[in-house]
């Protein structure tokens, strides 16, 4: 089980901590972080921004037919969440018994995303849980 781990590691700050960025030129915030501001282009001044993880469900679905990596996790909820501090992001929604619906308030939590077999890496990630 030799899987390249650099692709996880490279974005670990964003995946663990919702660290995106903000264009100091126009104030637009991005998650995941962008290299260039979509509004300012060449004039963009990007700087790290840590989102507090509070948000609201914009849409969601319960995935019953998963890709291989998630075969043991299905069914699971994923959604588009509008963060209180700006951008819309995608993520898992933890079924914690709370109501999963459009408009439900959520907060970011820290969970396992998936596990690469018995010997591979464990992929940790933010997920959203209904408040």
């Amino acid at each position: 089980m030799e899987k390249p781990s650099a692709s996880l590691w490279r974005k670990i700050k964003a995946r663990y901590n919702l660290i995106g960025n903000e264009c100091k030129n126009c104030g637009t915030r991005y998650f995941p972080p962008r290299i260039v501001c979509r509004k300012c282009g060449r004039k963009s001044k990007m700087s790290d921004f840590k989102f507090n993880g509070d948000g609201e469900i914009v849409s969601f679905t319960k995935i019953s037919v998963p890709p291989d990596t998630f075969k043991d996790e299905a069914p699971y909820f994923v959604g588009v969440v509008k963060l209180a501090e700006g951008p819309q992001v995608e993520g898992h929604i933890i079924d914690n018994g709370g109501k999963i619906a459009i408009g439900t308030k959520v907060r970011a939590a820290f969970r396992k995303m998936y596990v690469d077999g018995d010997e591979g890496l464990i992929y940790y990630h933010y997920k959203f849980e209904p408040v």
């Binding site: 670990i12 700050k13 663990y16 901590n17 840590k50 075969k71 043991d72 996790e73 898992h92 933890i94 914690n96 018994g97 709370g98 939590a109 820290f110 969970r111 396992k112 995303m113 464990i122 940790y124 997920k127």
Partner: protein
């Protein structure tokens, strides 16, 4: 000496009742409930492990402490269910709470007392001015062999404590800590084994009671204190019976151990056990209250602490998510087959 500047806890939302497990093994549920003084236990979700529990607890501790995570100079995670045999849980935690890279990290293992051992290490580093704040976490998704008595108690949860020495930040002074340690084969898990093995009744007297009683007595000797000097006491709680028994032998009343006795309703969270008990006790303690904590780890050893709650505790209390709230939060009861699936014991092939 350093003191506690913040703490946080985490429990999974899933629960399984003694009756549900007993049904599978044809055991007498009421006999088990009486014998172990336990009614249900926490079970990790499929997406939870000792690392995610540690992170959730650690984040709450940072929030409670009200300090920048970047000033935490050491992170220790005590667990006997570290997700990786090689690759630290502590690095996952430091990254997820954002300490920055200038931080000492290590995973600890001493059965159920690795987390309190970490507190002792953090105290040493803080008192010697090597670091400003140190964090220690006890977190476990503990394993009980199917059909074994431990299956009724082995649960999941954790607590994180941050120690520092700024007087105005300390919510509880740690007046003294000592350890009582010996080489005692009461409970173990070999490398690569899925479940721990225990030596039955031998885990009682030579294991738990010898270490818990002696460590507590040592602390009394060295501090000149006695049970009546403490408002509360917290003992490691492998089941509901042992800590009650130990308290009685030492001369503590049931009221003194009540706020910290969680195992009857959440099970034995192993490395989290005595630390969650302390967290639950601090949740209700008032300035001036004295708390005795004695952990126990098989193999074996106990760490005893004499803790004095300070006046800062009230000011910080609103930032706490109390253990009682975590116990109540979104509780979801599952059946035995879901329990097996959540634990990864059965999977799609």
């Amino acid at each position: 000496m350093a003191g506690i500047v913040g703490y946080g806890a985490h429990l999974p939302i899933y629960r399984i009742k003694v009756e549900e497990i007993a049904k599978v093994w044809n055991d007498d549920a009421s006999a088990i409930k009486n014998g172990l003084n336990i009614s249900e236990k926490t079970v990790p979700g499929r997406d939870e492990d000792a690392a995610t529990i540690a992170v959730e607890a650690a984040r709450r501790a940072v929030k409670h402490a009200g300090i920048p995570a970047t000033q935490i100079g050491a992170v220790y995670v005590g667990s006997e269910s570290h997700p990786y045999a090689v690759k630290p849980t502590a690095t996952i935690v430091m990254e997820a709470i954002g300490t920055g890279n200038n931080v000492m990290c290590a995973d600890l293992e001493f059965a159920c007392k690795a987390g309190t051992a970490g507190i002792q290490m953090a105290i040493g580093l803080v008192d010697s001015n090597m670091i400003k704040y140190g964090m220690s976490i006890g977190s476990d998704t503990s394993q009980g062999r199917p059909g074994d008595a431990l299956e009724y108690t082995a649960s999941a949860g954790g607590a994180a404590f941050i120690v520092g020495k700024e007087k105005n930040e300390i919510i509880a002074n740690i007046l003294k800590t000592i350890s009582y340690t010996s080489d005692t084969p009461d409970f173990w898990r070999r490398e690569g084994a899925s479940f721990p093995t225990h030596s039955g009744r031998f885990t009682g007297e030579p294991g738990y009671f010898r270490h818990v009683i002696n460590a507590s007595k040592l602390l009394f000797e060295e501090t000149g204190m006695k049970p009546s000097d403490f408002k509360y006491a917290v003992f490691h709680q492998p089941n509901g019976k042992f800590p009650t028994n130990a308290a009685k032998q030492l001369g503590f009343s049931e009221n003194q151990i009540k706020p910290g006795l969680l195992t009857p309703i959440i099970g034995n969270t192993y490395s989290g056990s005595s630390m969650l008990g302390l967290a639950a006790t601090l949740d209700v303690a008032k300035a001036g209250d004295m708390i005795l904590v004695t952990s126990f780890g098989s193999g074996a050893g106990s760490d005893s602490f004499a803790i004095e709650v300070t006046e800062n505790t009230d000011g910080k209390r609103k930032r706490i998510v109390p253990v009682s709230a975590l116990i109540e939060k979104d509780r979801k009861y599952i059946d035995y087959s879901t329990y097996l699936k959540n634990r990864g014991s059965i999977m799609k092939t």
